[in-house]
């Protein structure tokens, strides 16, 4: 579990160092809609960009305006603070307005802080709707990324290699799903924070290393479950979220976090990428069509159905609908979700927070205590 936790809590980890020792490149990506199989097919390790462990946003604030989500700011700050030195490149996807503007802020900051300049920097343009032409567009974007990776890293990514990478990452997804199943017991066999560490680690480690570690975690907790008391079962939904401390805060209040419906994790576990369809089509189907983010406009019905299914699967007693301040996509969607779920008798609490900061712990704890009191009655 140590390596898994290291990967979940720190931006740099042993798996990345080992990968780099063999002179293999590492590329960071911003959004769960970026098809990581493509990188791996070219011998490049994709890692999800995160901003944990920073203590301020002073540099990021010099480029971003004040009314911007703290997640991309934290990534920019991490880069400025030299915490992402392992990166050989970055792919900025236009996941949302705050995130896509990282493209300009990062490029501008690189002029003031030359160490931030990466030799490979690519902008990925992902449609916000599903239609025949948006499917074609997404496939084209994958091809453009493929061409860019080939040219810069002097590799030649083939369809066969992509197919193999799909199979490999599907194995990771299956393992995560097995570990997630341990949370369905009452009480769960693994704490929410440990289980979520596994999901996070999957996006920050080489898949082979991850699978070895995740398999060990599964063995450990399936045969020797964690000692967890009965408590209300909570599912967390909403904004991009990779902060174990929120789960720890909720669990410290006596609840068990039994599932997450956030974009860290689902790209690995929600659905497998088809191994039967042509690889680029399969990636498009997975990353575009099953995207659970409200950036895909007009897909609320799909997302609420997905959430309800998750709630049923993990037998949640209540849902935490959280959003990072200025994440309007999730904050507004949370308003709709709360209305619909409460109508069906599923208790919800909406929490607005800052990314990665523990300054909110007291307030969040107090609100969670009140919520747990409500759902325990």
């Amino acid at each position: 579990m140590d390596l898994i936790k290291q990967a979940a809590f720190e931006l740099q980890n042993e798996s990345i160092s080992a990968w780099k020792q063999n002179d293999h490149p590492v590329v960071g990506y911003t959004c769960s809609q970026v098809p990581l199989e493509l990188f791996y097919a070219g011998g490049i390790l994709p890692v999800r960009l995160r901003g944990v462990g920073i203590h301020g946003l002073d540099i990021a604030d010099a480029y971003y305006g004040p009314f911007i989500c703290s997640f991309p700011k934290a990534i920019l700050q991490s880069m400025a603070e030299k915490k992402l030195k392992h990166l050989d490149g970055a792919v900025i996807a236009d996941g949302c307005d705050s995130m896509r503007r990282m493209d300009e802020c990062w490029r501008r900051a690189s002029k003031d802080y030359p160490h931030m300049a990466l030799p490979f920097f690519h902008y990925m343009n992902i449609p916000r709707k599903i239609s025949d032409h948006s499917r074609d567009w997404f496939v084209d974007e994958i091809k453009q990324l493929q061409t860019a990776l080939n040219a810069h890293f002097k590799v030649s990514i083939t369809l066969e290699q992509i197919q193999k990478a799909i199979q490999l990452y599907n194995e990771s997804r299956k393992l995560i799903e097995k570990i997630e199943d341990l949370r369905k017991f009452n009480p769960p066999k693994i704490t929410g924070s440990d289980a979520f560490c596994v999901s996070l680690a999957a996006e920050s480690m080489a898949p082979e290393t991850f699978q070895k570690q995740a398999a060990a975690v599964y063995e450990q907790f399936s045969s020797n479950p964690a000692e967890i008391a009965d408590g209300p079962r909570i599912l967390i939904s909403g904004s991009a979220y990779d902060d174990i401390h929120l789960i720890q805060t909720i669990e410290a209040s006596g609840a068990n976090v039994v599932g997450e419906n956030v974009c860290f994790g689902p790209s690995h576990r929600a659905n497998l990428v088809s191994e039967k369809h042509p690889p680029l089509e399969a990636l498009m189907e997975h990353y575009l069509l099953t995207c659970p983010c409200p950036r895909m406009f007009g897909r609320f019905d799909y997302r609420i159905a997905l959430l309800k299914e998750n709630i049923r699967n993990v037998k949640a007693n209540g849902v935490v609908l959280q959003n990072i301040r200025f994440c309007d996509l999730h904050a507004s969607e949370n308003g709709l979700l709360e209305r619909e779920l409460e109508k069906e008798g599923i208790p919800c609490i909406r929490l607005e927070r800052e990314y990665g900061s523990q300054t909110d712990t007291g307030r969040l704890r107090m609100r969670m205590d009140a919520f747990l009191e409500r759902i325990s009655q």
Binding site: R128, W137, P294, G298
Partner: protein, 467 residues
């Protein structure tokens, strides 16, 4: 929402306000002066409109007619479509659909009513929309969510890929009100063939959606007529744009509002053509006399508003500019990029649309191209410093219109521009244009009072020795 607010339908109040304003302006000077005693909260606005006689009256008439259309659409068997300012409603009008454009419907009560649209903005939060979302829609939207308007039949927006907070508001409304929805989605790229093909396919899907919602086929003749009228209006806008380059600028600051609000509410209608013709006459008259459009006649400084304007109650921003001697050189809202626009003579931004009328396909392509150049859709869809985007446009405009400075006015809800306005402003400064970032909310004075906004602006003009 307070119960007394719920007693009065929003559109009905706006309809009454506009009729009273119109009747007052049409009255004799003596009647008008007498009426001003009864309108303490929007005396400044009325005076501002009254100053310009015919254009002011025609603008009020245009708005009055647009609100009337909404009020009585269903009585006339027409469908109502909720949409956004950056979507060109030509296609809606050609299909006999009445557009309800959220942003102008937020602006009007904001500058007209004592309490602005605060109660309706607040209701959006009650309904579940995030408090940090863009205020430009929330003013009118709150009334629609609260059921205080003639209900809309469906929703169309074109800000997917352009502005998340805008698109999100419409997606939210569709779910909240349970209405059919269609979005035009825009890639970050602009003129390449792949992007244009994407836009073409998207627009054809929009027409299929409209046909399914209205049960009618797109009427070619009406569309041709609408596009012809739009072309006429574009030529008039180009004339005004050209006059605006003169020093002193003969365009009164408030005319910028007339230009774009008319376009958003009544594009391709004869009422908008009449308004533009009248504005042209006023501007030409000023230009012939070498006069500035400012009331004082003296232009002290030329300011390019690189994003949107500021809509304080009683339209105080316009009066502030007038009183301070600041000439308004237009904003992202007042330029639409027809291929004959004078600002497209500059090679850097030559990317205009051409209206073609030969076949239905041509006309649909024209609509696609017009829409792809709508405010915001054109210039902030991609990274701000790439070709054809915001920086290039702003710098080209600033040079062509001989701007002394650049002003950014927006809303805290604008995630897109706040994501890069700081580096943007640094770039414009580097190119020699003093740039002021306004931290106020263009639609909600509770964020920053207009007095503070005006003080900060005045300080900027003074410190940078612009006046």
């Amino acid at each position: 929402m307070r119960p007394e607010i719920q007693e009065y339908p929003f559109d009905w109040m706006l309809h009454k306000s506009m009729h009273i304003a119109f009747d007052s302006l049409k009255g004799s000077k003596k009647e008008y002066q007498y009426m001003l005693n009864y309108m303490p909260y929007f005396k400044g606005l009325m005076d501002l409109l009254g100053k310009y006689d015919e254009p002011g009256i025609l603008f009020v008439e245009l708005v009055k007619d647009a609100v009337d259309e909404i009020m009585f659409a269903h009585d006339q068997g027409k469908k109502i479509c909720m949409t956004t300012f950056c979507f060109s409603p030509i296609v809606l009008l050609a299909m006999d659909v009445v557009p309800v454009v959220m942003e102008p419907l937020t602006v009007l009560p904001t500058i007209l009513w004592k309490r602005g649209t605060y109660d309706f903005m607040n209701f959006c939060i009650e309904a579940g929309l995030s408090e940090t979302s863009c205020s430009s829609q929330r003013g009118a939207l709150g009334a629609y969510l609260a059921g205080l308007c003639e209900p809309v039949d469906f929703i169309i927006f074109d800000s997917g890929g352009v502005c998340d907070t805008n698109a999100n508001v419409f997606a939210f409304s569709a779910s909240y009100l349970n209405k059919p929805i269609f979005q035009l989605d825009y890639p970050a790229s602009f003129l390449d063939e792949r992007t244009r093909e994407y836009q073409r396919k998207d627009f054809r899907e929009l027409i299929a959606f409209l046909e399914s919602q209205t049960g009618k086929k797109l009427d070619q003749d009406r569309l041709r007529k609408g596009l012809e009228e739009t072309h006429k209006q574009d030529l008039l806008l180009s004339q005004i744009d050209e006059y605006q380059m003169l020093k002193p600028n003969p365009l009164p600051p408030i005319f910028n509002l007339f230009m774009y609000a008319g376009r958003f509410l009544a594009t391709s209608t004869p009422g908008y053509t009449r308004l533009l013709e009248s504005m042209c006459r006023t501007v030409k008259n000023n230009a012939d006399q070498g006069k500035s459009g400012l009331q004082s006649g003296k232009e002290k400084c030329r300011a390019l508003f690189c994003y949107i304007d500021h809509y304080s109650s009683d339209a105080r921003m316009w009066n502030f500019l007038d009183d301070t001697g600041i000439s308004h050189l237009g904003s992202i809202l007042s330029r639409f990029f027809p291929d004959h626009a004078p600002y497209l003579q500059n090679e850097d931004i030559n990317s205009g649309y051409h209206i073609q009328l030969n076949t239905l396909d041509d006309m649909i392509d024209s609509l696609t191209e017009i829409n792809a150049r709508s405010p915001m859709v054109k210039s902030i869809r991609g990274p701000y410093d790439t070709p054809y985007m915001w920086l290039e446009d702003a710098l080209a405009f600033a040079r062509l219109y001989q701007a002394d400075c650049i002003i950014y006015s927006g809303t805290p809800g604008c995630r897109n521009t706040w994501g890069m306005v700081k580096p943007f402003a640094r770039d414009t400064e580097k190119h020699g244009f003093p740039t002021h970032i306004m931290y106020s909310d263009a639609f909600d004075e509770r964020v920053e009072s207009f007095e503070t906004t005006a003080l900060r602006l005045a300080e900027f003009f003074r410190v940078r020795q612009l006046i």
